[in-house]
């Protein structure tokens, strides 16, 4: 919040470097451990915190509006399919939440090429892949042509 890395927990594996959408988690060349090189471009998205196998990354609220003494910790468990949060207020209040993250095994999505190839007719229609079946209605909607008007509505 921005994020920071605990020296004694980080082993320099680079998962955070690999995942950070903002390219701000880098490996420090002296310590061979990760750190946030540009906190003012950190969105506090927690992608690095969730990806860290050592739980070495945490966030400290932005200095310009967040008083010290809080924490928002997360544990994302892919095998269990859950994410767990622990919120600690500056005044000590605690709140805990757990949510599901996925209902199917990781890697189980079928590639489009695993489905039947479209026919030549399909290319000319407005239907997309898996339509109309995946719409759960009979057919893809369209409009009656020729009703166009111009001006304020």
């Amino acid at each position: 919040m921005p994020t920071f890395v605990y020296m004694t927990r980080c082993d320099g594996c680079g998962h955070c470097v690999d995942i950070c959408p903002s390219d701000i988690m880098h490996i420090d060349p002296t310590h061979r451990r990760a750190y946030n090189i540009e906190p003012e471009m950190c969105w506090e998205c927690y992608s690095c915190v969730k990806a860290c196998p050592q739980n070495a990354i945490d966030a400290r609220g932005y200095s310009d509006f967040a008083p010290l003494g809080h924490s928002v910790r997360v544990l994302r468990e892919e095998a269990k399919g859950t994410i767990s949060w622990k919120i600690k207020f500056r005044n000590g209040t605690e709140k805990n939440f757990v949510s599901p993250i996925r209902t199917t095994p990781w890697g189980s999505i079928k590639a489009p090429s695993d489905y039947e190839a479209p026919s030549q007719e399909d290319f000319k229609s407005q239907e997309l892949a898996h339509e109309p079946e995946a719409l759960n209605i009979e057919k893809l909607p369209t409009l009656t042509p020729g009703k166009s008007t111009q001006g304020a509505t």
Binding site: W43, H70, I101, A129, L135, Q150
Partner: protein
């Protein structure tokens, strides 16, 4: 030869090149494979598609779902809703097209493993509002990225695309793109038959409210660097509604979302003295916009407007009344998980400031402006519409093809179609991809050719900031102040200040006028010249340098469009003080621009708004 002429050039061939692997890009990549079984489909992303784009941190709701299977809404209803919210001006053909395909996308997300919340009584998806459904979406992006990865011939992560390449055999036809690998520094040339731009909209073109460490806590992701606009603008694609920036009413400091609070938790706003205030501004707003104020739901910009006026009248801060709703433990859980699922920063702000909404009604604020094509706003490229419903004036080629041959777009890139959000952006990516595959199949032997001279020239341009730094750094002892180069952050802060003060940012109360815009454009011109002197110490800074380049050209487009539209169409988003009222006689139209990169001139024109839905 320059210092960096020894850099490796990697040439990649593709039939369909998808630029940007966010929601739109993943949709485009997936759909390209369905229709192009034997085609070479390449997706290129500046971060890592598992956590890239606006959905990187997750979402707690899918904001566009018709529910046609349960007869909840029809696509026409969504067009009416978006048109109403945007004060009459949307591309109805594009919006209709997205709305009719969005349900099949959402059903696939569920099949792929996205946890959907369901109404315990009906078994249907849990509605947050008329259009929104609630999800446990922490892994929304990794799930969608898995589908795209399986579809692509190859996904190139960590490559920042800087420019599109044009065909050397035929004018106004795209032939690929160039960029650089942020890790290795290799120069990449992507040769492609069709290109689908699915890059991000624009954060950080206006000065954000937080300016220290917290400047990263913009509402839209800081990595949304306007590539969606810069790439098409620089090759002469026509753009539309670039003045239609959006301002968000959000929880203070963290910009946590309010949708679930208003719609599902039934919380409401009041001024500092506990009074309802929106109705007080009804007559005043009606003076400005006429009957638009009577429409339901009240357009987003007009609700912003009432809030801004109430604060200007000295009765701020505006608060969200949460204390009642949060006494219900289920609602309290929803309120917190809503943030943890998509704006964790708001939970941090509340924890740090001891704001427990069960006991304190939290403050709201209005954000700095953003430019995007996917939210309650519709800036972007002018695109051809669907064959079966688009009026002829909106059809010149393949669906979602811009005014450049072979150049397609989706998501933030395509203008005129508001209220796409995550699912609609994915749907639009799919729509564009089917059309792009048709384009590739129909092209036959007339394949586009890239010019080696063109990309070799671009290679020098792309790496110039590193050369500037290498040379200029020797002039000074240490530190960040150099007489010969600007660092990307310096340029970014100059841009944000210009846009803020001259083009209607927060410090100007979102107000601008022709003299301000004229001066703003002069300052932007000087900034553009100074961009030739950007200095980048390393590859990370080089990425920042190119993000800045993209933001600046998009900002110039915003200023030009704002100058052209001589009315105040969306009070609450911005105000033309010299034309303070909505003017349907002259401005019930789209604004279009085309940038000429040789002359640096912008050609502006109007395009009619055709209504195809009653």
């Amino acid at each position: 030869m320059g210092l960096f002429s020894s850099r490796k050039t990697v040439v990649v061939d593709s039939d369909v090149l998808v630029i940007g692997g966010g929601m739109a890009g993943c949709g485009a990549t997936y759909e390209s494979r369905h229709w192009g079984r034997d085609l070479n489909i390449v997706c290129v992303e500046k971060a890592n598609i598992e956590r890239s784009g606006a959905v990187a941190q997750g979402l707690y709701a899918i904001n566009t779902y018709m529910g046609m299977q349960w007869n909840e809404n029809q696509p026409e209803d969504h067009v009416r809703y978006a048109r109403n919210d945007l004060m009459g001006l949307v591309r109805e053909d594009l919006g209709y097209d997205i709305a009719r395909h969005v349900d099949s996308c959402v059903h696939k997300f569920e099949e792929w493993g996205l946890p959907m919340m369901r109404d315990p009584e009906t078994g249907q998806y849990q509605r947050e509002g008329k259009w929104q459904i609630m999800i446990h979406g922490e892994s929304y992006k990794p799930i969608v990225a898995e589908a795209a990865t399986k579809a692509a011939s190859k996904v190139y992560n960590r490559i920042m695309v800087t420019h599109l390449l044009m065909d050397k055999t035929k004018p106004n036809r795209v032939a690929g793109a160039v960029g650089f690998n942020v890790r290795t520094g290799d120069f990449y040339v992507f040769r492609a038959t069709a290109v689908i731009v699915c890059a991000g909209g624009a954060s950080h073109i206006y000065k954000p409210r937080a300016t220290g460490e917290g400047m990263g806590r913009t509402w839209y992701a800081p990595w949304s660097s306007a590539s969606a606009y810069a790439l098409p603008i620089l090759v002469g694609a026509k753009m539309t509604q670039m003045e239609n920036r959006i301002v968000l009413t959000r929880f203070k400091d963290g910009y946590g979302p309010v949708g679930a609070y208003f719609l599902h938790l039934k919380t409401y706003t009041q001024n500092a003295y506990g009074e309802e205030y929106e109705s007080k501004w009804y007559d005043h707003t009606k003076e400005l916009v006429g009957d638009y104020v009577d429409r339901h739901p009240v357009p987003t910009c007009l609700r912003n407007h009432a809030l801004l006026e109430e604060v200007k009248a000295g009765r701020g801060p505006i608060r969200m009344v949460t204390k009642e709703a949060f006494q219900d433990p289920h609602k309290e859980t929803v309120g917190w998980e809503n943030f943890l699922g998509m704006t964790i920063g708001q939970a941090v702000v509340w924890a740090s400031q001891n704001i427990d909404p069960k006991h304190t009604n939290p403050e709201l604020t209005t954000s700095e402006p953003y430019v995007m094509g996917s939210h309650a706003t519709c800036s972007g490229a002018w695109a051809s519409g669907p064959e079966d419903v688009a009026p002829s004036e909106y059809q010149w080629g393949y669906n979602r093809m811009m005014t450049v041959d072979g150049l397609f777009g989706a998501g933030d890139t395509i203008g005129g179609a508001a209220h796409k959000f995550s699912s609609g952006s994915f749907a639009e990516g799919r729509i564009a991809a089917k059309a792009a595959v048709n384009y590739v199949n129909n092209l036959g032997k007339e394949q586009p050719q890239v010019s080696e001279a063109e990309y070799e020239d671009l290679k020098k341009v792309v790496f110039k900031p590193m050369e500037n730094y290498e040379v200029g750094r020797n002039e000074i002892v240490a530190g960040t102040v150099s007489p010969s180069y600007l660092l990307p952050m310096h340029g970014l802060q100059r841009l944000e200040k210009i846009m803020d003060e001259y083009v209607g940012g927060i410090s100007a109360n979102y107000i601008t006028n022709e003299p301000l815009l004229t001066r703003g454009l002069e300052l932007l011109e000087m900034l553009k010249e100074d961009l030739n002197h950007l200095g980048a110490e390393d590859l990370h800074q080089l990425q920042r340098a190119w993000e800045l380049q993209h933001r600046v050209i998009a900002s110039e487009s915003v200023a030009q469009h704002t100058m052209f539209r001589k009315e105040t169409r969306w009070p609450g988003y911005y105000y033309r003080a010299d034309h303070p009222k909505l003017d349907d006689t002259d401005w019930h139209c789209f604004t279009l621009s085309r940038y000429d990169r040789e002359s640096g001139e912008w050609e502006m024109e109007k395009a009619p708004v055709h209504h195809i839905i009653d």
